[in-house]
Symmetry: C2
Subunit: 112 residues, 2 copies
């Protein structure tokens, strides 16, 4: 299924949120930015295994959806940082409930 | 990115849960089965736009992960129903928090 295919239907708020965050990396980007603002290279290191192309796409999508904002500091070389917006912070209960479920119900599963 | 590619890393419970539910249809299957047990054809109607192949794959994955269980009633013709397990019910706080976010933050977005 194409990444861009929408499952929005009947105005369901679960479907709308799924459209925004239901891919394999986005919850982890939000998890990491919950701690502090981060640079692209820091996110890339934290999200082990993500390709730069995929990370760029995910960040662009989240920026377009006003979940994160990108700040460019006029230094030499320029420093770009990503941080959660108020809307992004409002997603933290979703991440927290995912964390709770994972701790209780997926704790014994092998991580690979 | 392939559907089966894992983002599990560092034993993070958010990543484990993302591996299980972070695709575009799974949250909606859990949303629907939260109401009552349902047949394949009922889910297919409820999840407008899902292909039978995708629905089969998602249900199989959820059954393998013991999030749902499949009951075959020996009738003529046989009736097969899907329902949430205890583990599946434990995912409802994730769905609820997605619903809350969607209601508050995505209410004005166009649904398509």
């Amino acid at each position: 299924m194409a990444e861009t295919q929408s499952v929005n239907q009947d105005g369901c708020p679960v479907a709308r949120t799924a459209d925004l965050i239901s891919n394999k990396w986005t919850p982890l980007i939000i998890r990491d930015l919950a701690k502090r603002e981060m640079r692209f290279s820091e996110l890339e290191r934290s999200l082990k295994g993500i390709s730069p192309k995929t990370l760029s796409e995910r960040l662009k999508r989240l920026e377009d959806s006003t979940v994160i904002e990108r700040t460019c500091y006029p230094e030499v070389p320029p420093r770009v940082e990503y941080q959660l917006t108020e809307k992004g912070h409002a997603l933290l209960p979703v991440i927290d409930s995912m964390r709770e479920f994972g701790k209780v119900w997926l704790a014994d599963e092998e991580c690979d």
